[in-house]
C-alpha cells in the first residue's frame, strides 16, 4: 500500500514559483501524515536525553547537548521515510520531524533534519525552542497548515499520529523558490 501511494505521485521537475512549490509540498505533506509512524517517532529521543533537556545543569550550559542521544533504529527508520518523502520532489525539498518536548508542551524540538538543511522554524543549534504557534495549531487540530513566513520559503506542516490516534508530532515539508547552494554549510 505504501509503495502504491508513492507511485501515484509524480511531481514536476522544477519549482519556479511559490504556487507550484505550495502545491507540491501540500501533496507531500498529505503523504507524510499517512506514512510517518508516530509510535516509532516517540522512541527516537532517549529518556536520558530528555532528562538533561528538561533539567538544565546550572553549572554547564552545554550539558543537554552533550548528553543528547537517540535510539538509532527509530531514528534511521523515520529519517529514511522522511528522505523518501522529500524525494517525491525532484528539486530540493526537506522533510523535518518536529515533536513537542515530552513533559513540557510549551516547547517543541526538531528531532530529524535533512540534507538541504532547510527550515523556516529552527533556531540554528537549539535542542528545543518555544512552541511554534503554527505547529501548536497542527498538533491541536490535526489539519495541515501552509506557512510562508521567511522570504522565498514555503513550509507545509503535516500532523503525525501514533497508533492511538494521538497527534505526536509535525512533519515540516519545506522548500525554497531559489535555493542557496551554500547556505547552512556550517
Amino acid at each position: 500500500m505504501k509503495c502504491v501511494l508513492f507511485l501515484m505521485i509524480v511531481l514536476p521537475a522544477v519549482a519556479t514559483d511559490v504556487s507550484t512549490l505550495e502545491r507540491d509540498l501540500n501533496e507531500i505533506a498529505r503523504v507524510a501524515t499517512a506514512m510517518v509512524d508516530g509510535d516509532v517517532c516517540e522512541h527516537i529521543v532517549t529518556d536520558r536525553a530528555l532528562r538533561y533537556m528538561s533539567h538544565p545543569d546550572p553549572r554547564d550550559q552545554y550539558a543537554d547537548g552533550d548528553n543528547y542521544d537517540v535510539d538509532d533504529d527509530a531514528f534511521i527508520r523515520t529519517k529514511k521515510t522522511l528522505i523518501r518523502l522529500a524525494n517525491l520532489a525532484n528539486y530540493p525539498v526537506d522533510a523535518n520531524l518536529w515533536m513537542p518536548l515530552r513533559g513540557d508542551p510549551r516547547r517543541i524540538q526538531v528531532v530529524i533534519r535533512n540534507k538541504y538543511e532547510m527550515s523556516q522554524f529552527w533556531d540554528w543549534g537549539k535542542l528545543s525552542q518555544a512552541m511554534v504557534p503554527e505547529m501548536k495549531e497542527v498538533l491541536q487540530t490535526g489539519k495541515a497548515l501552509t506557512v510562508k513566513q521567511k522570504p522565498k520559503f514555503v513550509s507545509v506542516l503535516a500532523p503525525v499520529r501514533n497508533s492511538l490516534g494521538q497527534i505526536v508530532g509535525v512533519v515540516e515539508v519545506v522548500g525554497e523558490t531559489t535555493p542557496d547552494a551554500r547556505e547552512n554549510v556550517k
Partner: protein, 599 residues
C-alpha cells in the same frame, strides 16, 4: 591680522607640529595603543626603542612596531630605507566591545613612503595621538650573513624624525618544514560571501564570478601558508548538505551513481593540490598538506540506503573514482581526510562523528573504514586517512579505533591527561594534533605562542584553531575579542583578499623559532633544549608541562560535565597563566644563541 603676525602664527603652528612629531619603535610583542602608550596587557616589561636592532636567522621574518606620534592635523609621511625586502602595514586600532579599549590587530598593507594623518580619518578614534605600523623585514635563505643597516623616517614637511635599523643576519637558516602544523579551521564559504559583498555579489550567476570565489579561497590558503600555517574548510553541514565547490558533481543512484563532473572541484582544489596556488609565495609553491573530503553520512551515498547494498555501491563507486582522479592528477602529497563532523544534537544523524561521547558510536567509524578500504586500493599512492576529532572518550577511542582512525585531533586540555599514549599512537603511524581556540586581543600578546609551544613540548604533530576566519559583523568598531579570527576581510581597504593580523604574525614568528629549536633538539639533547625553552618562557620546568588525570573525576565519561572538566584542568592551566609579553622574546634569544653557536 597683518602679514607679520600671520607669518608668526604660521611658524608657531609649524613649530608645534614639528615638536609633536615623534617616531619610536617597539618589539613585536608589545602592542601600541592609539594614544602613545602600550595596550594594558602588554605593559609588563615594555620599553620604547629609539633604534631597531636585531639578530635574525635566514629564511625568516624580523618584525617590529613603528609608532608615529603627533598631535597636529597635518600630513605625515613614513618611509623605510633598508636593503632587505620590507613589508609595511598600517595597524588598525579596533574598539573592543567587551572592555571598550582599543587594540591593534588588522594589518593593512601600505607602500613606503606612506602619507597619513593623525588622527586617522577612517579609524576615527577620539583623541588619537599615535599611528602604529607593523614592519616585516624578510630575510631570504640566500641572504649573505652580515649586518644590514638602514633607517625609518617620519616627516611632516616641517621636520623629520629617524630611527636607525640594524639587522645582523646569522648563517643559520630556518627550516622550511615546521615541527608543529598550525592549522586554521573554517566551515563552508557563506562567510566569504558575507565578507566580500562586492567581489562575490554575483557568485551564483556565472562561472567567472565563481572563479572569483576560488581566487579568494586560494588567497586565504596563501595567507595562512605565508604565515607558516595551513587552512581547512569543511565543506558540509551537520545534516550533510555539501557546498557545490567542495565535491565533484554526482549523478545516478545505487549501482549507477558516479561522478558527472570534476570541473568545479578541480577549479577549486586543483591549484591547491598541485601547489600552483602558491606560486607567488616567498615559501615557494607546495601542495596543501591536508584537505577535508566532503564524505559524510549523506555523501556520496544517500542515507536512504544506509545498511543496504546501495549504500556501499554509491560510496565505493564515488570514492574509487576520487582515488583514480587524484592519482591521475598526481595529487599524492596531500592527506585526504575522511572526517565526520556531525553531532546528533544538530539532528541530522543518529551518531556523533565529532567528539564522540557515547562509545557505541565508534561502530560507525569501523563501518566507514570498511567502506573506504573497499573503495581505495591498498597500494594507492593517494593518501586517504580516517580522521576523528576527539575529546570525552579519547583514551577509549585511541584503543578501540586502532587501525581504523589514523588521524586524531584531540582536545588539548583533556589530551594533557593522556599524553603518555602519544608514543604508541605515533609508533603505529597515526598523526596526532591537538585543538583549541584562539587567544583574544585583550590577552597578553605572547598567549598566541602558548599552543604552538605546548604542542611542540608535548610532541604532537599539529594544533588546530577551530575557527580563525570569523571576525564578527563589525570588527572595525565593535570587535568581539577576535577569539574566532586571525584574519580580516580586506575589501574595505581596496584589498581583494584577507588581511593578516598582528596575532597571526606573532604566531608565525614563534613558528620560525620553533623550527630552529627543533633542529637544535634533533642535533643535540631534546630535553636540554626543551628544558631551557620552558625556563625562559615562563620560568617553569619541563615536568610542569605534564599533567595527570585527577582522581576526582567520575569513572564513567557519561557522568562528566564541562564544569567538572574545567575545574579538573584548572591547576594545570594555571601554570601557563600570567605570561609576560616578553616570554617568547626570551625563547627567541635562546634559539638564535643556540643556532649561532652550533652553526
Amino acid at each position: 591680522m597683518n602679514s607679520r603676525s600671520s607669518l608668526l602664527a604660521g611658524l608657531f603652528a609649524l613649530a608645534i607640529q614639528c615638536s609633536a612629531l615623534e617616531l619610536r619603535a617597539l618589539p613585536e610583542f608589545f602592542r601600541p595603543d592609539p594614544f602613545g602608550g602600550i595596550v594594558e596587557s602588554d605593559r609588563d616589561g615594555a620599553g620604547w626603542l629609539t633604534a631597531i636592532k636585531a639578530k635574525a636567522a635566514r629564511g625568516a621574518y624580523v618584525s617590529f612596531h613603528l609608532v608615529a606620534g603627533g598631535s597636529g592635523a597635518g600630513e605625515c609621511a613614513l618611509s623605510i630605507d633598508f636593503p632587505l625586502t620590507t613589508d609595511v602595514y598600517r595597524e588598525w586600532f579596533h574598539l573592543n566591545t567587551a572592555d571598550r579599549k582599543y587594540y591593534p590587530d588588522a594589518l593593512i598593507p601600505i607602500r613606503s613612503p606612506y602619507r597619513f594623518q593623525i588622527p586617522s580619518s577612517d579609524n576615527a578614534i577620539p583623541g588619537q595621538t599615535a599611528q602604529a605600523f607593523w614592519i616585516d623585514f624578510w630575510v631570504p635563505a640566500s641572504t649573505e650573513p652580515k649586518t644590514y643597516r638602514g633607517r625609518a623616517r617620519l616627516s611632516d614637511g616641517s621636520g623629520q624624525r629617524t630611527i636607525p635599523i640594524e639587522i645582523s643576519v646569522l648563517p643559520a637558516v630556518v627550516p622550511e618544514r615546521d615541527p608543529v602544523t598550525l592549522d586554521n579551521n573554517s566551515y563552508g564559504t557563506s562567510w566569504l560571501i558575507q565578507q566580500y559583498p562586492k567581489a562575490l555579489a554575483t557568485v551564483n550567476e556565472s562561472r567567472r564570478a565563481e572563479d572569483e570565489l576560488f581566487r579568494l579561497i586560494h588567497e586565504h590558503h596563501q595567507l595562512f601558508y605565508d604565515h607558516r600555517g595551513t587552512f581547512h574548510q569543511l565543506g558540509y553541514g551537520h545534516a550533510g548538505k555539501v557546498g557545490p565547490e567542495f565535491a565533484p558533481e554526482l549523478t545516478g543512484t545505487g549501482a549507477e551513481k558516479h561522478v558527472r563532473s570534476w570541473d568545479r572541484f578541480d577549479r577549486h582544489y586543483g591549484p591547491l593540490l598541485d601547489g600552483s596556488a602558491f606560486a607567488s609565495s616567498r615559501r615557494g609553491p607546495r601542495p596543501i598538506p591536508y584537505v577535508y573530503l566532503p564524505v559524510n553520512p549523506e555523501w556520496p551515498a544517500s542515507f536512504l540506503w544506509w545498511g543496504e547494498p546501495g549504500y556501499q555501491a554509491e560510496f565505493t563507486n564515488v570514492l574509487s573514482e576520487m582515488e583514480r582522479h587524484f592519482r591521475e592528477k598526481g595529487w599524492t602529497s596531500t592527506v585526504f581526510e575522511v572526517f565526520f563532523n556531525q553531532k546528533k544534537r544538530y539532528k541530522g544523524f543518529q551518531w556523533d562523528g565529532d567528539e564522540v561521547r557515547f562509545s557505541r558510536d565508534n561502530r560507525y567509524f569501523v563501518a566507514y573504514h570498511d567502506l573506504v578500504a573497499k573503495a581505495i586500493p591498498a597500494d594507492s599512492p593517494v593518501h586517504f586517512r580516517m580522521r576523528a576529532d576527539t575529546s570525552w572518550t579519547m583514551a577509549h577511542q585511541f584503543e578501540e579505533l586502532k587501525g581504523v582512525v589514523s588521524f586524531w585531533v584531540a582536545g588539548a586540555g583533556e589530551f594533557s591527561w593522556y599524553a603518555d599514549m602519544l608514543p604508541q599512537l605515533k609508533q603505529r603511524g597515526d598523526i596526532v594534533w591537538n585543538y583549541g581556540g584562539t587567544p583574544t586581543v585583550e590577552q597578553v600578546s605572547s598567549t598566541i605562542t602558548l599552543n604552538p609551544l605546548q604542542s611542540w613540548i608535548t610532541g604532537v604533530d599539529g594544533f588546530v584553531r577551530w575557527l580563525t576566519v570569523n571576525p564578527g559583523p563589525d570588527p572595525w568598531r565593535h570587535l568581539n575579542g577576535g577569539g574566532e579570527t586571525l584574519i580580516y576581510p580586506g575589501e574595505r581597504f581596496g584589498v581583494e583578499g584577507p588581511l593578516a593580523s598582528i596575532r597571526l604574525k606573532l604566531q608565525r614568528n614563534c613558528l620560525q623559532d620553533l623550527a630552529l629549536l627543533d633542529e637544535e633538539a634533533k642535533a643535540g639533547s631534546r630535553d636540554r633544549v626543551r628544558e631551557e625553552v620552558v625556563r625562559r618562557f615562563n620560568n617553569t620546568k619541563l615536568a610542569e608541562w605534564r599533567n595527570t588525570r585527577p582522581e576526582t573525576l567520575p569513572k564513567s565519561v557519561l557522568e562528566w560535565n564541562n564544569a567538572d572538566l574545567g575545574d579538573a584542568l584548572k591547576p594545570f592551566e594555571s601554570r601557563f597563566s600570567n605570561l609576560q609579553p616578553s616570554a617568547w622574546l626570551r625563547v627567541r634569544d635562546f634559539a638564535l644563541q643556540e643556532t649561532g653557536s652550533s652553526k
